[in-house]
Symmetry: C2
Subunit: 142 residues, 2 copies
């Protein structure tokens, strides 16, 4: 398996709009995408440092901070704001999941689902990735 690149770093924040302004004003980052994802109970924003770099940051805030069935709300309550997951881009997510399953890795999502930006995504369990919650991303066809 050969990943294409690091797609993004997921960061949980307590207030998405304040966080976007912070990253814009403090580090000059640019907002490239903003999305409400009701089926996952989160709202997200993607920011980049420059147009050339392929790796972005994804800021995530739970829609309902008190919904402890939501993993992001639970993360925010238990660990506070901070680094949440690492996402890598693959060309064929189904094949990647097959390969990783064959290697014995534990999957959170056994089949890809639609994630932010319309991309196909699937998460691997941190226990199988040395403590890192890892997301596979296959870009949607344009």
């Amino acid at each position: 398996m050969q990943i294409e690149n690091l797609d993004h770093i997921g960061i949980v924040v307590g207030n998405l709009d304040e966080a976007i302004k912070f990253y814009q004003n403090t580090f000059g980052m640019k907002l490239v995408h903003y999305e409400l994802i009701p089926e996952r109970g989160i709202k997200v924003a993607f920011l980049v440092s420059n147009e050339k770099n392929e790796t972005s940051i994804e800021l995530l805030e739970p829609i309902d901070h008190n919904d402890m069935s939501n993993t992001v709300a639970k993360f925010l309550k238990n660990r506070g704001q901070g680094l949440h997951h690492l996402a890598i881009k693959v060309s064929d997510i189904n094949r990647a999941l097959e390969e990783l399953t064959a290697k014995g890795l534990q999957l959170v999502d056994t089949s890809p689902r639609k994630g932010a930006r319309g991309h196909l995504v699937a998460f691997l369990h941190p226990k199988s990735v040395m403590g890192v919650l890892l997301e596979l991303v296959q870009a949607k066809e344009l």
Copy 2:
């Protein structure tokens, strides 16, 4: 302030050599740098997904897992393996630190010090970066 790009994602691991093999064998990443940094009590490895992408991952292991004066050993004991810090590249680290101080951000390093790969680095306090331990990196002159 305008950052150049995301330089790397720092990931704390319990066994550096095993972690390198894991990222190589599981995701096809390439080892580009390995360094023992005795003055910081850690050994580190940098891996990239491809030559083109500017953002790498840095795997960090404390040299002495029981030295609780070492922040990485403490992190490993208290939180376990996982995402540790985010590093952004700047062209002028002294100017960046001045600007960030003027904006009221709390610094861990008030002046740059030599970090991995001979680069100049300085850490910002997570309290000032919405829970993210942020490292500024200025590439050494070639």
